[in-house]
Symmetry: C2
Subunit: 82 residues, 2 copies
């Protein structure tokens, strides 16, 4: 299944608990679109969050993020990894 | 050790082999700055590369990337993960 890296901006001041809660909100509904959010990394100072997922499409990733209340600003397929 | 996510733009058309080579160039000298590049993901269509590392500082990450011939456009500490 293709992998995607999506990016959220404007999350300045995000706490560890908030990151956990938003991730949980994604996980709770991800199966409905065949998506799996594997991992997320956050820089609360610049307000940037990176999410790595496996999904059938970028649109499926966005639909889950939107329904969970946090639309991604960018979603990139990442077919190459090392 | 702190984790960092750095981003490279302008890598359109990057191949799997090129990603492997550039990553190898980082790994070859990373210890000199106490850095370890754990993983990288690339989107050759938009030309975006994300690198995850453990390092003493963002400056140390940049020094390795520069010496290996590929300066990062952004380097974010990512103290929060999930």
């Amino acid at each position: 299944m293709p992998q995607f890296m999506d990016v959220h901006h404007g999350m300045k001041g995000l706490t560890a608990d908030q990151l956990k809660e938003t991730h949980k909100a994604d996980l709770a509904i991800e199966k409905e679109e065949g998506v799996h959010f594997e991992k997320a990394w956050a820089d609360p100072e610049s307000g940037t969050v990176y999410c790595l997922s496996e999904a059938p499409s970028a649109e499926a990733v966005q639909r889950i993020h939107e329904r969970a209340g946090h639309r991604a600003d960018e979603i990139h397929p990442v077919p190459l990894t090392v």
